[in-house]
C-alpha cells in the first residue's frame, strides 16, 4: 500500500527516502513462472519451510531417545511437555486427544513468528488470512466437539443455568456474540501483534538509514535507533513465543468450554 500521507512524508518522498513500513508484507510469487501460474508466494514457501523444520526437529528429537538428552532432543521434549502440561491443565484428562492438534498449532505459529525475525524472511503470521484460517479451524473444531459430546444440550451453553428467565433476551444475544467473536479476536490478536512488531522494526531501521545520510554527526546519532532496534528484536522474540503460547492456551480454554460446557 503506497502511503499518500502527511506533509513530512511527502518531503522525504521527493528525495526518494520514505518510511516504507508496509512493503515488507507484500506477497510476491516465487519459483519463477511455475510459481507464478499456481500463485505460490513466499508466504507459502515459508509455511512449507516451517512445517519442514518442525518435522525435522521432532523426527530428530525422537530418533535417538538417549537417557541423557542432547540439545535438540531436550528441546523437543521440553516443547512436548510444555504443551502437554498446558492442554491437560486446562482441559483436564479428556484433553489428551486434543494434544496433537494444539501441539501442531503451537509449533506452526511459533516457527512462523520466529522465521519472520530472520533477515529477508517473511512472516506468514502477519497476514490476517493465515491467522483467520487457523482461528477458523479452532472455531469449527470446538463447535463440532461440543455438538458431538453434548448434542442439543450444547445450546444450553448460551444460557447459564440458574440465571433468572427474564434475563434471557439480554444474556442469550450477548453469549452468542461473544461466542462468534472468538475466531475474530483470536486471529486479530496474532496478526496485529506481528504487524505492529515488524512495522516498528522497519520504522527504526529506516531511521538508522535516514540519519546515517545526514552529514558528519548523522552516523553517531544513528546509533540511538540502532540500539532501539536491537532491543526491539529481543522483544519480538519474546512476543513470538508469547503469541504462540496465547494462541495455544486460548485454544485449550475454548476446548475446555466445549468439553465441559462451563
Amino acid at each position: 500500500m503506497p502511503a499518500q500521507g502527511w506533509a513530512g512524508e511527502r518531503d522525504l518522498a521527493a528525495e526518494g527516502k520514505t518510511i516504507d513500513a508496509l512493503g515488507q508484507f507484500e506477497l510476491k510469487t516465487v519459483l519463477g513462472p511455475i510459481g507464478h501460474s499456481v500463485g505460490f508466494t513466499q508466504s507459502s514457501a515459508h509455511m512449507l519451510l516451517a512445517v519442514g523444520l518442525i518435522t525435522l526437529l521432532v523426527m530428530y528429537g525422537i530418533s535417538r531417545q538417549a537417557v541423557v538428552p542432547g540439545r535438540l532432543q531436550s528441546l523437543t521434549e521440553s516443547a512436548y511437555e510444555f504443551i502437554q502440561g498446558l492442554v491437560i491443565g486446562q482441559v483436564g484428562p479428556e484433553g489428551k486427544r486434543f494434544f496433537p492438534f494444539v501441539f501442531s498449532l503451537f509449533m506452526f505459529i511459533l516457527f512462523g513468528n520466529l522465521l519472520g525475525l530472520l533477515p529477508f524472511a517473511f512472516t506468514f503470521t502477519s497476514h490476517i488470512v493465515v491467522t483467520f484460517a487457523l482461528a477458523a479451524i479452532v472455531f469449527v473444531l470446538i463447535t463440532v466437539v461440543a455438538l458431538m459430546l453434548h448434542g442439543k444440550k450444547f445450546f444450553g451453553y448460551f444460557f447459564p443455568e440458574g440465571a433468572p428467565i427474564w434475563l434471557a433476551p439480554i444474556i442469550i444475544p450477548v453469549e452468542i456474540v461473544s461466542y462468534l467473536s472468538r475466531p475474530i479476536s483470536l486471529s486479530i490478536r496474532l496478526f496485529a501483534n506481528m504487524v505492529a512488531g515488524h512495522v516498528m522494526l522497519k520504522v527504526f531501521a529506516t531511521f538508522i538509514v535516514l540519519l546515517g545520510g545526514l552529514g558528519v554527526a548523522g552516523p553517531f546519532i544513528a546509533v540511538l535507533p540502532l540500539t532501539v532496534n536491537v532491543a526491539l528484536v529481543g522483544f519480538e522474540i519474546l512476543v513470538a513465543f508469547l503469541q504462540a503460547y496465547v494462541f495455544a492456551i486460548l485454544t485449550s480454554i475454548y476446548l475446555h468450554d466445549a468439553v465441559h460446557l462451563h
Binding site: M1, G5, I188
Partner: protein, 74 residues
C-alpha cells in the same frame, strides 16, 4: 490536503485507547508483583496467568494501532 490532515488527526485520536491499555497493563503487573511479594511460592502458579492477562490487554492496544494504520494507509 484537508483529507491528509484529517487522516493524521484520526490516527492520533484512534490511539487514545492506549490510555486504558496503559492503566490495564500497569494494574496487571502491580497485582502480579503484589501477589508474588506476599507469597513467593505462588510465583510459578501466578506468572503464566499474569502473562496471559498482559497479552490479552496488549491485544487491545494493537486493535487501536490497527485502526490507526487503516486510517493512515488506506
Amino acid at each position: 490536503m484537508e483529507v491528509a490532515a484529517a487522516k493524521a488527526l484520526g490516527a492520533g485520536i484512534a490511539v487514545i485507547a492506549l490510555f486504558g491499555v496503559g492503566l490495564g497493563i500497569g494494574n496487571i503487573f502491580s497485582a502480579l508483583i503484589n501477589s508474588v511479594a506476599r507469597n513467593p511460592s505462588a510465583r510459578d502458579a501466578v506468572f503464566p496467568i499474569g502473562i496471559l492477562g498482559f497479552a490479552l490487554t496488549e491485544a487491545v492496544a494493537l486493535f487501536a494501532l490497527l485502526i490507526a494504520f487503516l486510517i493512515l494507509f488506506t
